[in-house]
Each structure stands twice: as C-alpha cells, then as structure tokens.
Amino acid sequence: MKKIQNKPGEKWWNEKPSYRLYYIREYSGILIALWALYWIGFSIAILIARILIEYLPETNTAFGHILFLPLKYYFLFTAIGLAGAVIHTITWLQSMPNIFPFRLSKFQKGVAFGVLILVWIGLSAVIYLTIRSQL
C-alpha cells in the first residue's frame, strides 16, 4: 500500500516563531557580508585614488569624484553592518550557555547570557574609548 511523503512545505521557515527567529539569525550574516563588501570596495577606491595622486597629480579632482561615491553611502552601509553585527552577536551569546561542557539550569543560563552581554558591552566601550583618545 502506498505511503504519502510528508515533506516540509516550501515556506517551512514561516510556520513557527522559533523558525523565523532562526532565519533572522542566519540572515544577519548576509548583512555583515554586505558591509564587508562595501568596505572592500571602499578600500580598493582609496588605493586607486592614492595611485592616481602619486603618478597623475592633475587628476586631483578625479580623486575627489572617485571617493565621493562610496562616502555618500557610508552611513547606510555602516548602519547595515552594525545591525547585522548586533543581531548576530546577541543571538550567538544567547546560544553560548547551551554549549558549555557542563550542565546549567535555565536560570543559570540566563545569568550566563547576562554576564556575556555585559562583557561584550564592556569590551566595546574599552575599544571605543581607546580609539577615541588616539584620534
């Protein structure tokens, strides 16, 4: 007698809140990738601009034009990258207590998550202050 296959539907990720959260978590990586691509493009533009200045000084204005385009979108891409990084970090830290090689209760896992968030904010603050004092 024939059995019918019972495969997940095409939009399986939309069926449950936890599946949707999983997709958001994974797709935050794409946001970070976009930001990374932007910075790679920006770095190549700066490199080209420096070469032009060295060897073709009369293209000073051209240099400005080349740099202008990426700068126009600077805040947009930084915002995208920041959003992706924050989502990814929070969801990653949320799942970290689950993979410790010793057993923790639900309350202890919550405490561990809180501690990790504080460490993350603390380290970010330290790095920010250090860079600010250098600039």
């Binding site: 024939k2 059995k3 495969k7 997940p8 399986w12 990720w13 936890s18 999983y22």
Partner: protein, 242 residues
C-alpha cells in the same frame, strides 16, 4: 467549559489514496486527553482512525502527533487546554502510512549509528562497577529519552535531508559517552562526527522545545560538536604520528 469538544482529524486511506479532514464532536470532560477523544471516536462511531497508543501515561512514546500545530504526546495533552476546533495531524517529516500512523523506521534505525551499548564481555558478571551519584547525574537528562520521535518531527534539517542522524540518536550517543562504564567513545565519535552527523545541525533549537521529557537534545548536540572538534584534532595528530 463547553458541552462538546470539536475535533478535526486529518485522514489518509492508502487503499483509495484519498486525503481528507473529518470533524467529530466528543462530550467534554476536564480530564479528557486527546488520546481519549480519538479512542472515543473510534469506539463509538467505529470511525477507524488508525493511531498508535500503549501506556496512556506519557512514558512509552507511541502516541506522537501534531495537535494544533505542535508535536505532542496525545495521551498527555488535555483537551480543555487547547483552542477548538482541535486539529490533529500525523507527525511531520515521516511518510504517512494511514491516518495518524507514520513510518518512523528511518529515524529509529539511526539509533544504531550512535552505538548505544557498552562493550563488556557479557557471559557472567561477578561484581558491579562503582559509580557515584554525581557521575550518575551526568547522564540523568539524556537518559530520559523515550524515543517518541517528536524531535525528528520538529527538526527542519531532518525534514529537508533524510540522511541527517538526528537529535535523539546524538543525544543517546552523548548519554553513552558520558557514562563512566563506556569504553568505545572513540568509535562512537567517528560514527557521529561523520558527514551525516553533528555537523549538519545548525542549532535551530526546536527539538529541545518539543521534547516531552526535557532531554535537551539541542544542548547535547552542541556539546558533542565541541567534543567532535577535539576528537578530530586528536585523530589528525594520531594519523600524522603514524
């Protein structure tokens, strides 16, 4: 509480190949479980809704089904806690044999790959090995698995790729790895960290959400990944030494 509960069941008849939904009304009772309702429908109206059941107290694991979208054990779910009409469907990700019965052989056979046994010579045993309560506590969670297959039904990775070993098998493997009497940890790690093993899990976590015995297979799999990394590093070093 209403006078009757309205129950909608998804049916499939392999003889004719038809799939359809049927609605029945069952007299309400505060202690009525989903399984009681299905049995009342079968016994009263001879509706022949095929289903599996045995212990009726949530320990044998036969009566898994999707009730209002969530995989649960039918005998431990009370009708009064659910939104009517209560929809009952067979477990996802397994081929349906008839009505609420699914073919779970694929997932059950994966248990073998976790090598779930100890390897002492067996004909006689003169004394027991020592194991303190603290050591016993290490395997307390993962040894509760009743093999109900709800985690396989909740795992989209298993749904999309039937070769994945799956949460229950890895949790059983973890339970034997952590047992102080076990001696074949390396062989088991080889089997579980193969290409169909732990690495296919991307930590969606739904398996732990639906587990009726709080085994936490998702946690066990991630810990197994950590162990797997160390194991792979060790085996590379061993191979290099050779």
């Amino acid at each position: 509480m209403p006078k009757n509960f309205s129950i909608k069941i998804k049916r499939y008849d392999p003889g004719t190949g038809k799939i359809w939904f049927e609605t029945h009304k069952v007299p309400a009772d505060p202690k009525l479980t989903i399984l009681d309702a299905v049995r009342a429908i079968n016994e009263g109206k001879q509706a022949s809704v095929s289903h599996r059941s045995s212990c009726q107290m949530g320990i044998c694991g036969s009566c898994g089904a999707i009730v209002n979208g969530k995989p649960v054990l039918m005998c431990s779910t009370f009708c009064k806690d659910l939104k009517t009409p209560i929809t009952i469907e067979p477990l996802k990700n397994f081929p349906i044999v008839k009505d609420l019965v699914v073919d779970t052989d694929n997932a059950m056979d994966k248990m073998r790959e976790a090598l779930p046994y100890t390897t002492y010579a067996t004909s006689k045993s003169k004394s027991a090995s020592k194991q303190t309560p603290r050591q016993l506590n290490r395997i307390k969670e993962t040894s509760q698995c009743i093999k109900c297959m709800l985690c396989y039904s909740a795992c989209p990775i298993f749904g999309l790729d039937k070769e994945f070993i799956g949460p229950a098998a890895i949790a059983t493997g973890w339970r034997y790895n952590k047992d102080t009497r076990d001696k074949i940890t390396n062989k088991r790690m080889d089997s579980l960290t193969s290409k169909d093993g732990v690495w296919k899990c991307s930590f969606i976590g739904e398996c732990s959400n639906v587990c009726p015995k709080s085994v936490d297979p998702a946690g066990a799999i991630q810990k197994m990944k950590v162990m797997g990394v160390l194991h792979s590093a060790k085996s590379i070093v061993k191979r290099k030494k050779k």
